[in-house]
């Protein structure tokens, strides 16, 4: 098992050395499988050499049920978003990760968005 894993790693490094940019330009940008519904690939302006995966935020109506999007792959469970949520819409699970127990309390102030050091949470309204 471990041997096969090592060879896989070596292959990955080999492709990096050749300088070819992989299609998504990324090892693991955001967990696409989990968030597949909300994801689009946008091509950036002329200066960008790679395709950037950006979470798409659905516009109408949806934000009342899901006021914030949380990318658990990037989250480090520091608890800042929960501590500074002014209305208590966010809560913490037993492992420290944030979730939204009271979506109706969210006032879309985007405090969590500004203070997240890992870009792991974003408001869904705008």
């Amino acid at each position: 098992m471990s041997g096969s894993k090592k060879t896989e790693k070596k292959k990955a490094y080999g492709s990096k050395k050749t300088g070819k940019i992989r299609k998504n330009g990324s090892k693991k940008p955001v967990d696409v499988e989990k968030l597949k519904e909300g994801m689009v690939i946008i091509k950036d302006d002329k200066h960008s050499k790679m395709e950037v995966e950006v979470p798409e935020v659905k516009s109408t109506g949806d934000y009342k049920k899901n006021p914030v999007y949380i990318y658990y792959d990037w989250c480090k469970r520091c608890g800042i978003c929960v501590a500074f949520c002014p209305t208590g819409a966010l809560g913490r699970r037993a492992d420290g990760s944030p979730y939204v127990p009271h979506p109706e309390k969210c006032i879309h102030c985007e405090m969590c968005d500004r203070l997240c050091p890992d870009f792991a949470i974003t408001g869904a309204k705008r």
């Binding site: 330009g25 950006v54 935020v57 608890g79 800042i80 968005d113 050091p117 974003t122």
Partner: protein, 279 residues
């Protein structure tokens, strides 16, 4: 739909680098990175217009993750490299991201002389009161009495006031804010980028894993709450008595003035000397 802040940030990140980034849980560097990207996105600079230079340290890991022209240089020498970049390409916006130890201890001379010259560089100085990356040695900004790995019974040195140092050295834009005031950080950084001349934005930040643990400051959120209470506006700070001032830090724009800029003066000099002789 077009103004989603998070969407802006994702546009400016290098997604082929390993995410989530290398900083510890709750480190303020990520907040400052977010504020910087928002400021640049709001000003509408193109990615090729901006050069981000850094030295060594936790904060200096920042250029790795952003998709501008970036330069990761020697310890303390970020401003020296940035001077070179600015001199060769005067139209480029040069941003130096540096830490407190990087800029004021090891690169102290570069810092004061760049300020004296008034070269058009924006320095974002993230002050976390300690050398975080190398294991928690005390830095010039470690508060009096605070513990560090190399000061287990408390630091006995006096603290460096970086903003006063920059004002004394002749910087033409000096501002201080904290990582908790993320929106204000964005505002000050965008003002500093637009300013012609040497501009310094000191951002008081937290190191929850080393400084916070050694000094029993609590969780990352507690450290940010401390910042909210202790980093107060200059007006409020001046109203306090001497005793109350002890553990408070003023924030705001301290200096904003227009003085001839170094690269512009140099270009003028070269042009005046290159005039044809027969005139």
């Amino acid at each position: 739909m077009s103004n989603i802040p998070q969407k802006q940030i994702h546009k400016y990140l290098r997604h082929d680098k390993k995410f989530p980034h290398v900083w510890c849980p709750g480190c303020s560097n990520g907040i400052v990175l977010g504020a910087t990207i928002r400021a640049i996105a709001e000003l509408g600079y193109e990615k090729d217009e901006v050069a981000m230079v850094s030295g060594i340290g936790c904060s200096s890991r920042m250029p790795v993750y952003v998709d501008f022209n970036t330069l990761h240089s020697l310890h303390g020498r970020a401003i020296a490299y940035a001077t070179g970049v600015k001199f060769f390409k005067p139209e480029m916006k040069v941003v130096v991201v540096t830490g407190d130890g990087d800029a004021t201890a090891i690169g102290g001379n570069h810092f004061i002389h760049a300020a004296r010259r008034n070269i058009d560089i924006t320095v974002i100085l993230i002050n976390n009161n300690i050398y975080g990356m190398t294991g928690g040695q005390y830095s010039p900004t470690t508060p009096d009495g605070a513990r560090a790995t190399t000061a287990p019974y408390g630091n006995i040195d006096r603290t460096f006031d970086i903003c006063k140092l920059a004002i004394g050295a002749g910087a033409t834009f000096v501002a201080r804010t904290s990582a908790y005031h993320a929106q204000e950080s964005k505002l000050f950084i965008s003002k500093a980028l637009e300013h012609k001349g040497f501009s310094l934005v000191e951002i008081v930040s937290s190191c929850p894993v080393i400084f916070g643990r050694l000094n029993k400051k609590g969780s990352p959120a507690d450290m940010l709450k401390d910042m909210k209470d202790n980093v107060i506006t200059e007006k409020k700070y001046n109203e306090l008595s001497e005793d109350e001032k002890a553990d408070k830090i003023p924030r705001g724009i301290f200096v904003e003035e227009q003085v001839p800029e170094f690269t512009a003066t140099y270009t003028d000099l070269v042009q005046s000397l290159q005039k044809p002789k027969d005139e």
